[in-house]
Symmetry: C2
Subunit: 214 residues, 2 copies
DNA sequence: TTTTGTGAATTGCTTCACAGCA
DNA sequence: TGCTGTGAAGCAATTCACAAAA
């Protein structure tokens, strides 16, 4: 399968999941894994797993499977997480503080290196993540982003402030934003946006349990 | 379009987003909205919006558009959020506490009515949400779920405890689980599962900004 | 004129099925 | 034998394009 075609979005979504499973296999000292193993762990068919991986080259051995360590390394390189990636956080409310305290992504290549909030009573205070961070004025955003080569940001401000804060981030050079505000951010294709909306997820579940087969 | 066919998952995902936008239009005193308006707000084509809505009946007026209030009401009924839905939260760590403090979904029809944690030092303490809630022993889960007719749960325990806690929830009668642990929960089709994994989302963004066109 | 609702065309994704390698 | 990689087939979702309604 051609590496130069556009990679389908569903494939990219599953890529991260494959990596997560591979790290689990690795932790359990498994050295090889078949498309069937990976598929079962994630509720996918073996054919799907092979087709997905085929987008990025051929790294399986017929009769054996995939070498866990090698495949994980390749996936990290594809996703860009083989090197540490610095991240900024905008908005130090409940959600923001929980995200900093939650160390779940440090081990996966992401480091929160700067936090911003426009509330003057918060600026200058310290929040505890993997390292203590001073809450900065959004006016410093551009300079800080450049100094730490930050290209990714997490947006966790109240809904009415989201679009404006988002635009500040883009102006500061941020290229990808993970948005926690329940609003569709207006943006062009120079920025990637992913959104997490609690209510939306719960609504999906509500619909699914309401509907006979799903 | 037939109402009895299985509704595609992508359609269901967008349904929630339509509702969110409709509520915004409603707050701005707009009474009608066209498929073009809705599409622009969400980055979708007008044809897509119409096709999606067609799954649930015909409620637009040619030359005019859709009546905002009526459509929002219909969508809530479809999603099951026209009535308040009770939700339980399992795991009162950083993530769990942030989710309770975050009032973002109370206004959308969901109420956290019970919280559980297996840590004995937490059981019996009170956490502050829209109402104060006593942290309960997971042993009480089934009985509490029945008393409050809770069918939806949020899982926010540490990764190694996730699968077990999940199974407790299912045994207690929970039919839909929103999972915050970075692990694929093994489950059959009697339960609906949705997952939010910070690292996965950040990896998506990293990939997108690494790839020329996306 | 504006905008819906919808068949038809198209594009995209997944599953099938099997040749070929270890 | 066990498992990959991949064309071909099948299925699903999106876009097109236009008749009909307000």
């Amino acid at each position: 399968m051609a590496r130069n075609d556009q990679i389908p979005i569903p494939v990219v979504r599953r890529l991260s999941l494959y990596l997560r499973e591979l790290e689990l296999f690795q932790a359990n000292d498994r050295h090889t894994v078949s498309s069937k193993d990976l598929g079962e762990a994630l509720g996918l068919s073996d054919a799907q797993v092979r087709k997905d991986l085929a987008w990025f080259g051929q790294f399986g051995q017929p009769g054996v499977g995939y070498r866990v360590g090698e495949l994980a390394g390749r996936m990290r390189r594809i996703l860009g997480t083989d090197k540490k990636l610095n991240v900024m956080l905008v908005g130090v409310g409940n959600v923001g503080r929980a995200l900093i305290a939650f160390r779940g992504f440090g081990g996966r290549g992401f480091d929160v290196m700067a936090v911003f909030d426009k509330d003057p009573t918060k600026i200058g205070t310290t929040v505890q993540g993997s390292i203590p961070l001073r809450v900065q004025d959004p006016a410093e955003m551009r300079e800080t982003a450049e100094r730490h080569s930050i290209k990714l940001g997490i947006l966790a401000v109240p809904t009415p402030a989201a679009q404006t804060a988002f635009e500040e981030m883009v102006a500061a050079g941020i290229r990808g934003v993970l948005n926690f505000a329940p609003v569709a951010l207006q943006h062009d294709s120079r920025v990637a946006v992913a959104s997490v909306d609690l209510a939306v997820h719960l609504e999906q579940l509500s619909f699914q349990i309401l509907t006979p087969s799903a």
